[in-house]
């Protein structure tokens, strides 16, 4: 019986020494220690080791400067890092999420607003494009009506846009280069220099100069017709910059097939 009590109580001796056991267990252990020499010895050993532990780790005896240093360091860190609750607002993730959403919505609205509004004058890379509406060109010179002459009269007037604007801008060196084959445009090899393109655009320059100068008699529709040109070719070159389109109006020689058709028409009329 006593041995059984020893086996059961010996694990509790350490708790008994410090008074950690419940009242009933405490009383039972006290009664057992009174009659059990071995358990009493064990209790004394636990008491001694606990006493030794307390002696080994006495309360620290640091001076006031030690504590003041800790306080100053903590308060200084708080002030420098702004860990004050004032900054708590900015430590919340939803603040940043809301801000990001607001910025994104604003950006979308701006893109939508400016995307739908086509500018009347383009300013690309600091160069103002030379633009003129058909009416302005017609007012400047009646010759501009000549290119529109081959168009069918029943065609509705095109909306003012890039196609109807006469614009010419020297391409930037970074823009792609094109060569013309009739009305088809194929990108040239990158080895082709800008000089080639400038040479190809030289007639366009001359034509533009002629259009912008009122006494351009040689470019009027009548003059073109009198010169034996029945059609005016419209060549558009789209550069890599979507805002820059080169429109080249030039008189073209009627193709033999067209001449044949015209001859056939004439023969048909005669018939």
């Amino acid at each position: 019986m006593r041995i059984q009590n020893c086996q059961r109580l010996s694990p509790l001796i350490s708790l008994y020494v410090a008074g950690d056991l419940p009242d009933a267990s405490q009383r039972e252990a006290t009664a057992h220690l009174a009659i059990c020499e071995a358990c009493r010895q064990l209790a004394e050993e636990f008491s001694a080791s606990t006493s030794l532990l307390v002696q080994a780790c006495p309360p620290p005896e640091f001076d006031a400067e030690f504590y003041a240093g800790i306080r100053n360091a903590v308060l200084g860190e708080i002030s420098s890092n702004r860990r004050l609750p004032k900054a708590w607002f900015f430590q919340r993730p939803w603040v940043y999420a809301t801000s990001f959403a607001a910025v994104a919505i604003a950006a979308l609205l701006l893109v939508q607003y400016f995307g739908s509004k086509r500018p009347t004058t383009n300013n690309v890379a600091g160069k103002k494009l030379v633009q003129s509406t058909p009416e302005a060109i017609a007012a400047a010179s009646p010759a501009i009506s000549a290119p529109q002459a081959p168009r069918k009269s029943e065609d509705p007037p095109a909306a003012p846009g890039v196609h109807d604007n006469l614009s010419y801008v020297l391409p930037r060196k970074s823009s792609k280069e094109f060569k013309t084959r009739g009305n088809r445009f194929e990108p040239l090899a990158t080895a082709q220099s800008d000089l080639n393109l400038s040479a190809q655009l030289a007639p366009a320059k001359e034509f533009l100069t002629a259009v912008q100068s009122p006494p351009a008699e040689t470019l009027t529709a009548a003059s073109l017709a009198s010169a034996g040109t029945a059609q005016v070719s419209r060549i558009e070159i789209q550069t890599s910059d979507p805002n820059i389109r080169i429109i080249w109006l030039t008189a073209s020689e009627p193709s033999p097939s067209e001449n044949t058709n015209q001859d056939q028409d004439k023969h048909g009329d005669r018939k």
């Binding site: 694990p11 509790l12 350490s14 708790l15 008994y16 020494v17 410090a18 008074g19 950690d20 405490q26 252990a29 006290t30 009664a31 220690l33 009174a34 009493r40 209790a43 050993e45 636990f46 008491s47 080791s49 606990t50 006493s51 030794l52 532990l53 307390v54 002696q55 080994a56 780790c57 006495p58 309360p59 620290p60 005896e61 640091f62 030690f66 504590y67 240093g69 800790i70 306080r71 360091a73 903590v74 308060l75 860190e77 708080i78 002030s79 860990r83 004050l84 609750p85 004032k86 708590w88």
Partner: protein
Amino acid sequence: MAAELAHIFLTDAQELLPPVCAEENTDFFAALVSRARAGDEIAFERIMLATEQRVVSIAWRMLGDRDDAREATQEVYLRVFKYLKRFRAGEDFRAWLYRITVNVCNDFARKRKANTAASFEESEFDWEGQGSDAARRAADPEGRALHEQQLALVRRALQALPAKERAALVLRDLEGFSTEEVASTLGSRPVTVRSQVSSARAKIKTYCDKLARKRGTSR
């Protein structure tokens, strides 16, 4: 006889416990915490003044190094300030503070164990300045040296304990908390705390017994 034995053991155990610092009551801390939450640095400084000795004591006993204790205490108060908003009204502020202290000390001990192989010699050197009254009173130089050696071994045994058992033992036996207070601080049940404390005491005692036996055989 049994009652006398129990009285002797319990009295000894209670006498060995360090005096508990007179800390302010819960309402006092609640008012300070609410002010500190609002950004009042003076209130936070008063919280530090009221609790720093106990925090330093826990840190120093758990880490055994003065510099580590100072750094750990600074980190404790920085964390307290950082997470002051999370502290729920009605909760025991000191238990919350000491829980942070124990966690910070465990972090420090883990880092120290990872960085160096826990240089006990240095920690023993640190402890020497805090010699116990018994050792100071020892007139016999040889006995005093032997006693100091025993204390150093006990400190080594304390540092060798698992983190949870060390924390429970420090709070219960060295800081004088009740089992319920230790459970509240560590966020566990009193039964668990009793088990941890009992295991830690048994390990300390076993460690001391082995060393005593070694010393006996070496002589």
